[in-house]
Amino acid sequence: MRLAKVVGLAIASPKAGELEGARFAVVQPLGASLQDRGRPLVAVDTVGAGEGQTVFTVSAGPARAARGMADRPVDLAVIGIVDETLMEDR
């Protein structure tokens, strides 16, 4: 799982029938200093995260274990909203 920030959303009306009702969040993965790390990605949001919130995501096959995502063509899902990060000084 990865930490990410919700930075936007995408709307796609024509979509695979298996994704009917899915909400697509644009998420920016975060690195070890909570900085932007890598390219923004699109995740199915299963927890109702809002823009600006820090979240964690699950990718690849395990994304289909997220709530409501069984047997759906999903490779990235937002599965938690992070209230707070506690990190050691470095």
Binding site: A10, A12, P14, V26, R39, P40, D75
Partner: protein
Amino acid sequence: MIIGRVIGRAVSTRKDEKLLGTKLLLVEEVDPRGAGSGDMAVVADHLGAGPGDVVLVAQGSAARFTAQTKEQPVDALVVGIVDMIRFDGRSTFTSADGFGSNGKGPQP
């Protein structure tokens, strides 16, 4: 999923028979402002996406979890044709206006 722009298609006559009738698009990964990454993939499409369309691409085993692809040897699939992207507090893409000419998206 990644965001991609359809930049072409691959025509293949001799291919795995499970792929007969499946359109294969050439898709460049782009960021939410439309900047190309330089990376390109061959992506199966059952939604009817065409050149210039911006699409959501599911990668890996996820590509096989639709009625049309469950038996197919595919690892990238168009799962949505994008109408709108909102990024960093503003609209950066609409299907009507594209990403805008400056690569920073339409004005708010």
